[in-house]
């Protein structure tokens, strides 16, 4: 690569980096400003004085209990990820390794729903969740979204790629299907299971439309739905809004920082299969 080429490449990369990072830095800075300084023009990049007023305000307010939302989001996303991984792994193993009647039908049905846009499910799922008395509870956030087909596909693909020899020798030693699955297949699949858990957690944490409509009480919101409540309650208190945005992003950014390779590889693999 020529020196000019390298210069051009790095210029592009650095400009892009600035475009991606500066809004985040600016939002973070604003969350530590006073309410007056947050709306000052021209904008300043450094909070002066440095203030945690915004955080105190959103954590203390009864209408916008941000800490409670944080816990709700954490519980919902964790439970959803666990449910997705458990049910998908079991189903994917059957579809990858077992021979049974109706396999083509089941697989075909699951494949077909991958092409069904989610909008079709919103109205009827509200009705179903209502009949289950799950409206305004975290169950509405945890369970229905775990029915998505992505996890089953993702793990099925991974299980098919595993070498069969270990499983076969375990059978010869007298292990049953469950033992082979739990003692051989699952331990071998840790990276794939971790990737799926992460993607499910992120998706659930960030889900927006559904929680906005199925959760009503202030104390039952998730952080994402809560942000829109926070916005309608404080339309121009940008210090408060940025503090809320920071609280909603720090956990996922930390998770992403530690596990970005899994997240990115999980996403990029989805394209190669399509």
């Amino acid at each position: 690569m020529t020196a000019t080429g390298r210069f051009v490449r790095y210029t592009i990369l650095i400009v892009l980096t600035a475009l991606f990072v500066s809004p985040l830095v600016f939002a973070l800075a604003t969350s530590f400003k006073t309410s007056q300084q947050a709306v000052q023009t021209p904008p300043s990049w450094w909070p002066n004085p440095f203030s945690t007023q915004a955080y105190q305000r959103i954590f203390d307010s009864a209408d916008t209990p941000v800490f409670r939302w944080f816990l709700n989001s954490l519980v919902a996303a964790t439970a959803n990820a666990a449910l997705v991984v458990a049910t998908s792994a079991l189903a994917a193993y059957a579809l990858a390794r077992l021979q049974f009647r109706g396999k083509k039908l089941v697989f075909g049905l699951i494949v077909a729903t991958l092409f069904v846009p989610p909008v079709i499910l919103v109205i009827p799922n509200y009705e179903i969740v209502g009949r289950l008395y799950w409206l305004d509870t975290l169950l509405a956030i945890i369970v229905p979204t775990a029915a998505g087909a992505f996890g089953v596909f993702f793990l099925r693909q991974f299980f098919i790629g595993l070498p069969r020899e270990l499983e076969e020798s375990a059978f010869l030693d007298g292990a049953n299907r469950w033992q082979v699955f739990s003692r051989i297949v699952l331990p071998l699949s840790r990276p794939a299971l971790a990737t799926l858990a992460l993607l499910a957690f992120l998706t659930n944490w960030n889900d927006f439309l559904w929680p906005v409509y199925v959760l009503f009480s202030p104390e039952n919101q998730t952080l994402q739905a809560g942000l829109s409540t926070l916005q309608s309650a404080n339309s121009v208190r940008y210090d408060l809004l940025m503090a809320g945005a920071v609280v909603a992003s720090v956990p996922v950014l930390i998770l992403y920082g530690f596990a970005q390779r899994f997240v990115i590889e999980g996403v990029s693999r989805s394209g190669l299969k399509g």
Binding site: F115, P117, V119, E168, N206, F208, G271
Partner: protein, 320 residues
Amino acid sequence: MTATVQKVVPEPDRDLVAPTPPRQRGDDLAAWLFLAPYLVLFAAFVLAPIVLGLWISLHSWDFTLPGKPFVGLDNYRDLFRSGSTTFEPFWNSMRATGIFTLFSVPLLIVIPLAVALVMNANFRGRNVFRTVYFAPYVLGVAVVGVMWRFLLDRNIGAVNSYLDAIGLPGDTAWLSSVPPAWIALVGVTIWWTLGFNAVIYIAGLQEIPRELYDAARVDGAGAWSAFWHVTLPGLRPVTMFVTLITIIASANMFGQSFIMTNGAPGRQTQTAIFWIAETGLQNFQMGEAAAASWILTLALMLLSVVVFGVFRARGAMEAS
């Protein structure tokens, strides 16, 4: 769901051709037990809703009222009859979704590809850049929306302030006038999801065999010609995948509009799914909303089939 256990019909032929692992006979019961937990979820929250949605669309259905009279195809007819209460807002929202999709999809196909090409080499810091570009995607749409609403605020927003500082008009109403609102919504969506598409392209680029580029160079092809004759054809399946998921994501755009513009000015940036959610889940006209979501879905499926056909045809053309 069938819970009956059926006897496996022996298939000696298959067993002769491909020796399968032992203990195949117990598979029927085991398989259904393995599948059961997922299938319960799948049946309750994917299959049942598809049928129930169709059923709801044939009724005047209010979740909060006991009576849900059957109205046949009236909800659909109203959506297509000008002068009905749902006609104008529905098609207005379909138009908004159409405009958004029309502008965001091509940009989200081309820009991430360009970024992926710049990234597709061995250079120092490559993984760091990739991590940074993907980062906005892990933030939810609510965070992204709230943040950009602040940055794009007409009076105190940083964007207008910096535009003013470099001598450009600094009082654009990014969130309450069109076309600026469309530029804002499309631009923010690109900022948010560029990294996602780019990562998929990068993986696709790495799948193209190096030998093809070497062969092209031997044939005297320059960088541009190699791009047209090796890179693009090699990326076709990945590009089709990116195109389809981007169309589906754009046609389901909700959060950006809900948080940043709230449909303003008027209802001009209220997207179809926004109108469907508001009509069905806030005003509880669920029959109308269910009918509208079927129309949107059919339109989307038709579009997907067209995209699929175009990519297939191009592939066939180049293969011949």
